[in-house]
């Protein structure tokens, strides 16, 4: 059992000890210092309290035998017969992790009529592509998909399972992780691996204001989800001896309490995540009508118009166009932010963009810290001039 025990005799100043805990979990009960349900085991009381007063008793439960869990698995996702690009991004990262720790790369995919998909996965560096190709898996339903991933894990014992942070992935990964009673780290932005196959997972928390480095030291497999456009799509490269392995689920494993009635595409709003060039509008835009100017700029660049949260909240832009932690994560080749201050909540959704241009009249704006090119000026004079030049170059 891991727990903190208190040595009362080493506490001289009780009032000082009560103030140690940032969660207010230290209290006095019947004249004794005690820890209540607010405790998060953050260990500040051990580090900052009187020497020896708080002692950590470490976990002594048996850990998984790591030598029996080998391989980096990527759960590839198919929507409407096509692989989601996050699958390729994860395969690139999986290859990197596999080289560092001498493991194989698996791609596992669920769906119906998957032959072309399996071929494509071979082209992106998987050693083994494991395919569950059954009509019952055509549409996403949580129980059969979980059963398929469970079957894969029981058959191949991968040390790591990487899942795209998509709607499907964020449902499938936790469900399967719970089934194996193992750890899952959501929305990792950095992944690395130790020689003993322990995965170093780094993710933002508290709205991106802090980064947390997380390990799953005693359990296997280690689940991590990664959002689309966090990693890059690797060059195509087929491995020697790479193969496709077909597996099938028994009918008993395909049952579900969910009956899919219809899958229909959303209206053809092009997805912001797919845009290579984005013009993002923020609070510096003074009137709703002025967005037309930025829309024109986006069109001239063959890009899309997006916005910060401020404009969504005042109803000038639809929620689907919002970049940021509570909106979309984008990684375009070019983003031009116009009148956006660059609060961390916005920056977290776009700071992986390849080339960031920021136009803002405030030289102290936070956006300039992450911009590759900062333009300190009035967007109402910079943008019209840029539009004029773009039109000129096309004429």
């Amino acid at each position: 059992m891991t727990e903190i025990i208190i040595h009362q005799e080493k506490i001289a100043d009780v009032d000082a000890v009560l103030k140690l805990c940032p969660f207010g979990a230290i209290e006095v009960n019947d004249g004794k210092v005690a820890i209540n349900a607010g405790c998060r085991l953050c260990r500040i009381c051990i580090k900052k309290g009187p020497a020896g007063a708080f002692e950590l008793i470490e976990n002594d439960a048996p850990a998984a035998d790591k030598s029996k869990w080998r391989g980096i698995a990527v759960v590839a996702e198919v929507t409407a017969g096509k692989l989601h690009p996050v699958s390729f991004e994860l395969l690139g990262k999986a290859r990197e992790l596999a080289e560092k720790s001498a493991q194989e790369v698996y791609a596992v995919v669920f769906g119906f009529r998957l032959a072309p998909v399996a071929e494509e996965l071979l082209d992106y560096g998987a050693d083994k592509v494991v395919v569950y190709d059954q009509p019952e898996l055509e549409h996403f339903r949580i129980e059969p998909y979980t059963a398929a991933l469970e079957d894969f894990i029981n058959a191949f014992h991968p040390s790591v399972v990487l899942v795209g942070g998509t709607t499907v992935g964020r449902s499938l990964a936790p469900r399967t992780a719970a089934r194996f009673r193992t750890g899952l780290t959501a929305d990792c932005t950095i992944l690395d691996i130790q020689p003993d196959t322990d995965l170093d997972q780094i993710r933002p928390a508290y709205g991106g204001n802090i980064m947390a480095h997380i390990n799953t030291p005693r359990h296997r497999p280690q689940f991590a989800t990664v959002r689309y456009k966090i990693f890059s799509i690797p060059e195509k490269c087929r491995r020697d001896g790479a193969e496709v392995i077909q597996r099938k689920l028994a009918p008993s494993a395909l049952g579900s309490g969910i009956k899919v009635l219809e899958v229909k595409p959303k209206p053809p709003v092009k997805m912001l995540e797919d845009a290579e060039i984005i013009v993002a509008a923020g609070r510096g835009v003074k009137k709703l009508e002025d967005l037309a100017m930025l829309h024109e700029l986006a069109e001239l660049l063959d890009g899309q118009l997006a916005s910060s949260r401020a404009l969504v909240e005042c109803g000038w832009a639809p929620a689907g166009r919002q970049i940021g932690l509570s909106g979309r994560t984008v990684k375009p080749k070019l983003i031009i932010t116009c009148g956006i201050s660059g609060a961390i909540q916005f920056a977290a959704g776009m700071n992986n963009s390849e080339f960031i241009v920021a136009i803002n009249s405030d030289p102290e704006a936070a956006i300039f810290k992450i911009a590759h090119v900062g333009i300190c000026g009035d967007l109402y004079s910079v943008v019209p001039r840029l539009i004029e030049r773009l039109k000129g170059s096309m004429a």
Partner: protein
């Protein structure tokens, strides 16, 4: 129809700083609020309550002060409240949190529908709902953006996928997580506040749960460990252009051209 809504009390602000010396969070006081995404879960439950005479229980896990969150749910119309609070639940990750909630649900008893918010604003993981459903062995649908119909046996919902809407019938008992914006959350009612101010809350400790093995809860039941926390990185290299507007527009045009952003297929 019996509904359970899972809620969480979260820090009022996510503006936290890190003590660089020992890598811990600097937190002065513990100002809290009800997780904003949970308002949509509560509102969904209230609509179902009004239309289908459902009963609504709220369930949360946390320190004693999370009673405030349950009281707020009462002010929106929830009928009963359950709080899982025990020192032995501390330090729980997604798995241990979900497991503890599942034990709490078993303690509450029979239910038809569990509703969760899409995610919390502190952990941001959006995973507890799916893990809770797994521990209860019931189907789940995340990202529900619309409820079409409800009868005694099932609920018909739209799941919001990136490019598609998947409409399905889900058999009871089941769990759904709802999107922000599924309904406009009502404001807490002063009348309900007065009516519920004395309403007893059911406090549950480890000793009240079906599984009393402390190794399954809190830090001990958590496979993931936070090794360290640190401030986010910001790009260091950048160039700044200053000057008059039209000149800046010209320079930006040239820069975009030089970097091949103006090439068309």
């Amino acid at each position: 129809m019996r509904i359970i809504v899972c809620i969480k009390q979260v820090p009022r602000s996510t503006q936290v700083e890190i003590d660089e010396k020992n890598g811990t969070l600097k937190r002065d006081g513990v100002e809290s609020k009800l997780n904003p995404y949970d308002l949509y879960a509560l509102e969904t439950a209230m609509r179902l309550k009004e239309e289908h005479s459902a009963s609504v229980a709220v369930l949360t896990m946390g320190p004693p002060q999370c009673e405030e969150a349950v009281r707020e749910a009462f002010m929106m119309g929830a009928d009963s409240g359950f709080i899982l609070s025990d020192r032995r639940f501390g330090g729980a990750d997604v798995l241990a949190t979900s497991y503890t909630l599942a034990q709490g649900v078993r303690r509450i008893g029979d239910f038809d529908l569990i509703i969760c918010g899409k995610q919390t604003t502190d952990g941001d993981t959006a995973q507890v709902g799916a893990e809770l459903a797994e521990f209860l062995g019931i189907p789940h649908v995340t990202n529900v953006c619309r409820i079409h119909a409800v009868n005694t046996e099932k609920i018909t919902v739209d799941m919001d996928m990136p490019a598609h809407i998947e409409t399905s019938d889900v058999d009871f008992p089941c769990l759904i997580t709802v999107e922000k914006g599924i309904f406009e959350p009502r404001l807490p009612s002063y009348k309900l506040k007065l009516a519920t101010v004395d309403r007893a809350i059911n406090w549950l400790t480890l000793d009240d749960l079906p599984d009393r093995d402390a190794g399954h809860y809190g830090l001990n039941g958590s496979p993931t460990q936070v090794k360290r926390i640190f401030p986010p990185d910001t790009h260091q290299e950048h160039i700044m252009l200053e000057g008059e507007g039209a000149e800046l527009g010209d320079r930006l045009f040239e820069l975009l051209n030089d970097n091949k952003f103006l090439q068309k297929l």
